[in-house]
């Protein structure tokens, strides 16, 4: 199917979109929230335009995920007026480390809480807590230093807990 989609076969292109929709929809929905549908459309257009250059079809999902995260952050940044997290906020480093990390999968109303975070923080939460990646994998995926991934994840979780508890 990937080979036929790379050659621009219309029904194979659509079949590939169907196959990847749940996966891309989870990433775009959690990162771009109300603009998730737009992010998903732009992700697929970017994926399909670049698809002929994909050398290794086995790497498709990882490649698509990288584009989905990038597009979702970009669309969310473009569409939202985000209030950045204040590094001096009361949930400082000590409080963050002490804060219990909730079982995110059990949280019922995640959307409102996610809406208070920046797209970059939502992206790191999605990769770490929804996709279950290690911090090293998250750092590689987002092309940031492991220390940056760790601190960004810590801030995102602390903000999540803070917003959730408020």
């Amino acid at each position: 199917m990937v080979g036929r989609a790379q050659r621009g076969e219309p029904l194979a292109v659509d079949a590939l979109v169907r196959e990847l929709s749940d996966y891309v929809g989870r990433i775009c929905g959690a990162v771009a929230l109300d603009h998730g549908d737009d992010a998903m459309q732009e992700t697929f257009i970017a994926v399909l335009r670049a698809l002929p250059g994909l050398r290794e079809p086995a790497a498709l999902r990882g490649w698509v995920r990288r584009i989905a995260v990038r597009e979702a952050v970009r669309v969310a940044r473009r569409a939202e007026r985000v209030v950045p997290l204040d590094p001096q906020d009361p949930a400082g480093p000590a409080a963050r480390q002490a804060a219990p990390v909730p079982d995110l999968a059990a949280v019922v109303d995640v959307r409102d809480t996610l809406a208070a975070l920046t797209p970059e923080h939502r992206a790191i939460l999605v990769l770490r807590d929804l996709e279950g990646w290690t911090e090293q994998e998250v750092a590689d995926e987002l092309a940031i230093a492991p220390g940056t991934a760790k601190s960004r994840l810590s801030r995102a979780r602390a903000a999540f807990v803070s917003r959730w508890a408020s």
């Binding site: 959690a30 697929f44 109303d109 995640v110």
Partner: protein, 167 residues
């Protein structure tokens, strides 16, 4: 709009049929599209256009007859249809592979000589409808203005047929 998946508390984005058609079109050179809101409910519009043997020859000025050779359900929903279409002024039929599901119909001629896509979503009591057609090959790009006009003509005829009070 991004919604909730009952299996997960995380927000999940979706592509509606029109967005799916836009995505497919985006990588098909030579395919042109038109989108309108038709003053008729989704069920009436979709019921009409997917009665392919009857409707296509009515709304598509390039087609005089359609015959379905086979249809079969597809895993994950929808149908795969094999049909023949005879163009106006041609004794030879083109064979199309069709993927049909609620709100989306993709038709690809064997040999990639032609592509037709139709998608619809409810818009209140009306229907947002997108129609795309063209030659999905690099050289087909030159014909896009032609197909934009024919797609617009097809949509005008569909809207005229289904709009207004139920007949």
């Amino acid at each position: 709009m991004t919604g909730a998946d009952p299996r997960s508390p995380w927000p999940v984005a979706r592509l509606d049929p029109i967005a799916r058609l836009r995505v497919v079109e985006a990588v098909l050179p030579g395919v042109a599209a038109t989108e309108v809101v038709i003053d008729a409910p989704f069920d009436r519009v979709w019921g009409y256009v997917t009665d392919l043997e009857r409707s296509v020859a009515q709304f598509d000025s390039l087609v005089r007859r359609v015959r379905i050779r086979s249809r079969a359900p597809v895993a994950g929903g929808g149908e795969a249809i094999d049909l023949q279409a005879w163009g106006t002024g041609s004794p030879l039929a083109m064979v199309f592979d069709v993927r049909l599901e609620e709100g989306l119909c993709l038709m690809r001629a064997r040999g990639r000589l032609f592509f037709v896509g139709m998608a619809a979503v409810p818009d209140g009591a009306r229907t947002r409808f997108r129609h795309a057609e063209g030659v999905p090959l690099p050289g087909g790009r030159l014909l896009r203005p032609v197909f934009r006009r024919t797609a617009h003509g097809d949509l005008t005829r569909i809207a005229r047929t289904v709009a207004g009070p139920q007949r």
